[in-house]
C-alpha cells in the first residue's frame, strides 16, 4: 500500500517537475497553458483555469479537448460563485 502511495506521489512530483521544465523552455506554449489550467482547476481556482485554457486555445484553436476543459472550468466557476 505504501509503495503504491509513494509511487503515485513520485510520478506526481515528476509531472510537476516536467511542467517546470516546459515553463522554462516556453512559458507561453499551449501545453504549458493547458497543464497550468488543469492545476488551477483542481484547486478550484476556476477563473485562473479559464484564463489558462483560453490562452491555450489562442495557440491551438483546433483542440476539442481544450474546449471541453474550458467549458468544465466555466461550469465549475459558475457553481462555485454564490448566487
Amino acid at each position: 500500500m505504501d509503495a503504491l502511495l509513494f509511487l503515485g506521489r513520485s510520478y506526481k512530483r515528476q509531472a510537476d517537475s516536467t511542467l517546470r521544465q516546459m515553463v522554462a523552455m516556453d512559458a507561453d506554449s499551449y501545453g504549458v497553458h493547458e497543464l497550468m489550467g488543469r492545476q488551477h482547476e483542481e484547486k478550484t481556482e476556476y477563473d485562473l483555469a479559464i484564463n489558462e485554457y483560453q490562452a491555450a486555445l489562442e495557440k491551438r484553436r483546433d483542440l476539442a479537448g481544450l474546449r471541453y476543459a474550458e467549458s468544465a472550468a466555466v461550469g465549475g466557476a459558475t457553481r462555485a460563485r454564490p448566487r
Partner: protein, 398 residues
C-alpha cells in the same frame, strides 16, 4: 505540432523514396512512362494535391506492381488524406515486397494507432529495429501515446523518457511526458483503492486532495499543541458553504491509528471543520504512539520510520521488502525519482500480485483495465467515476 513533425517526416520519406527510385530507373519505354508519372506525382505532392499524387502512384503500380517504394509512397499519400485503412493495407503490401522499409513500419504503426491501438506496437518497434537513427524519435513518441491509450502509463513514461533523451529540447515530448506521469500517478492511486479501499493511504489521499481544493478558503497558522506533539501546522477553516464539507462526509474517512501522517492531516482537517473533539482524540492517540519520538514532524521521516519499524510478517506474501519501500522514500527525498520509481514499482507489483492471487478477482488481473483519466485521486482510489477526458492530478505532497 505533432502533425507538423509528422509532416516533415512524411515529406522526407516521399523525397527519399522518389530519389532512390529515379536512380534505379532504366531507359525502357515502360520506365519512361513510370518516370513521367513519378514527376507528376512529385508535382502533385509539392502542391499538396494528394488525391492526384495517389492517382499517379496507382498508375505506376499498374505498370510495375512490385515497386515497394511506390507502394510506400502511395500509402503515405493515403495517410496524408486520413484514409487510414487504405494506408494500412498499402503499407502492408509494401512490407511484403520489401521488409526493410522502416518508413512503412513507422507509418503503419501510426495508422494503426488511429484505428487499432494494440496493433500499433509491433510495427513501431520494428521500425526502430530497422533504422533506429531515423525512426526512433518518432516511433518512441507513437509507442508512448499508444501505451497511454492502452492504459499502460508506466510504459508510456519509459518511451517518452527515451524520446526526450533523443530530443531534449522538444517541448511536445515534455508535454506528453507530464501527462503520462499524471496518468501513471492516477493509475497507482487507483490500484491503491482497488487493493484496499479503506486503507489509511486512500483516506490520506482523499484528505489531501480535499485540502488542496479548499486551500483558498483557509488561513493557515502554526500552533503549539499541548498534547506534546511539538509544533504542528494546523489550518483554520473559513466558514464553508454547506455541502462542501459536512460532518457526514468526514465520518467516511477511516484511517489506521498507527498512520501518523494521516492522523495529523485528518486532525487538521477535523479542526478546521470544527470537530475539535475528534481532532484532539486523534492527536492524543498519536502522541501516545509517538511519545518516544515527539519531534518527528517531517512527513517523510515519519513514513520511513513507520515502514522500517513494521514487522516483515505483515507483508501478505512475505515477499515484499519493506526496506525496498524505505529505500524508495529516501530516493524521493534525495530527488532521485527514477531510482525511487523503479524500487517502488517493484515493491508495489509484488504486493499487488499477492492481492490478486488472494482475491481471485479476475478484474484485477492484467492491470490497466480501468481508465484512470478523468478521475480525481479519491475517485481513482475509491473506484468512482470522474470527469471524462481529464487525468487526475492529486495535490498530495511529500
Amino acid at each position: 505540432m505533432i502533425s507538423r513533425r509528422v509532416w516533415r517526416l512524411t515529406v522526407f520519406m516521399l523525397v527519399v523514396g522518389l530519389a532512390s527510385l529515379e536512380a534505379a530507373q532504366q531507359n525502357s519505354a515502360v520506365e519512361m512512362e513510370v518516370s513521367q508519372h513519378l514527376a507528376a506525382a512529385q508535382k502533385a505532392e509539392q502542391a499538396r494535391d494528394y488525391p492526384a499524387a495517389s492517382r499517379q502512384y496507382q498508375e505506376i503500380l499498374k505498370l510495375q506492381p512490385k515497386l515497394a517504394i511506390i507502394r510506400q509512397n502511395l500509402a503515405i499519400t493515403y495517410h496524408l488524406q486520413n484514409r487510414y485503412p487504405e494506408a494500412i493495407a498499402e503499407f502492408q503490401r509494401a512490407l511484403r515486397i520489401d521488409s526493410s522499409l522502416w518508413g512503412s513500419d513507422l507509418f503503419l504503426g501510426m495508422d494503426y494507432y488511429k484505428t487499432q491501438f494494440a496493433l500499433a506496437l509491433e510495427p513501431l518497434k520494428a521500425s526502430i529495429a530497422l533504422n533506429a537513427k531515423m525512426a526512433e524519435p518518432e516511433a518512441r513518441f507513437w509507442l508512448a501515446v499508444t501505451d497511454s491509450a492502452l492504459n499502460r502509463p508506466e510504459h508510456a513514461v519509459r518511451e517518452l523518457r527515451r524520446d526526450l533523451a533523443l530530443r531534449p529540447a522538444n517541448i511536445n515530448v515534455l508535454y506528453y511526458l507530464a501527462k503520462a506521469y499524471d496518468q501513471a500517478a492516477a493509475s497507482a492511486f487507483e490500484r491503491l483503492g482497488t487493493v484496499e479501499p479503506h486503507a489509511a493511504a486512500v483516506s490520506l489521499l482523499e484528505a489531501e486532495h480535499f485540502w488542496k481544493r479548499i486551500a483558498r478558503t483557509w488561513r493557515v497558522y502554526s500552533t503549539e499543541m499541548r498534547c506534546g506533539c511539538g509544533p504542528i501546522l494546523l489550518a483554520g477553516f473559513q466558514p464553508l458553504p454547506m455541502g462542501r464539507l459536512t460532518r457526514g462526509a468526514l465520518s467516511d474517512l477511516t484511517i489506521a491509528a498507527s498512520d501518523a501522517r494521516a492522523n495529523v492531516d485528518l486532525a487538521a482537517l477535523l479542526t478546521g471543520a470544527g470537530e475539535i473533539d475528534r481532532a484532539t482524540a486523534l492527536l492524543q492517540n498519536l502522541v501516545r504512539q509517538k511519545a518516544a519520538d515527539p519531534r518527528t514532524s517531517a512527513i517523510m521521516v515519519e513514513a520511513s520510520a513507520r515502514l522500517t519499524a513494521l514487522p516483515q510478517a505483515q507483508a501478505p506474501n512475505g515477499r515484499e521488502t519493506l526496506a525496498e519501500i524505505a529505500h524508495g522514500i529516501v530516493a524521493i527525498q534525495l530527488g532521485h525519482f527514477h531510482e525511487a520509481e523503479e524500487t517502488l514499482s517493484r515493491s508495489a507489483e509484488k504486493r499487488f500480485e499477492s492481492y490478486v492471487a488472494a482475491s481471485g478477482d479476475p478484474r484485477l488481473r492484467g492491470g490497466g483495465r480501468w481508465s484512470t483519466s478523468g478521475r480525481s485521486p479519491e475517485a481513482s482510489a475509491r473506484g468512482g467515476a470522474g470527469k471524462c477526458g481529464r487525468a487526475a492530478l492529486p495535490g498530495a505532497q511529500l
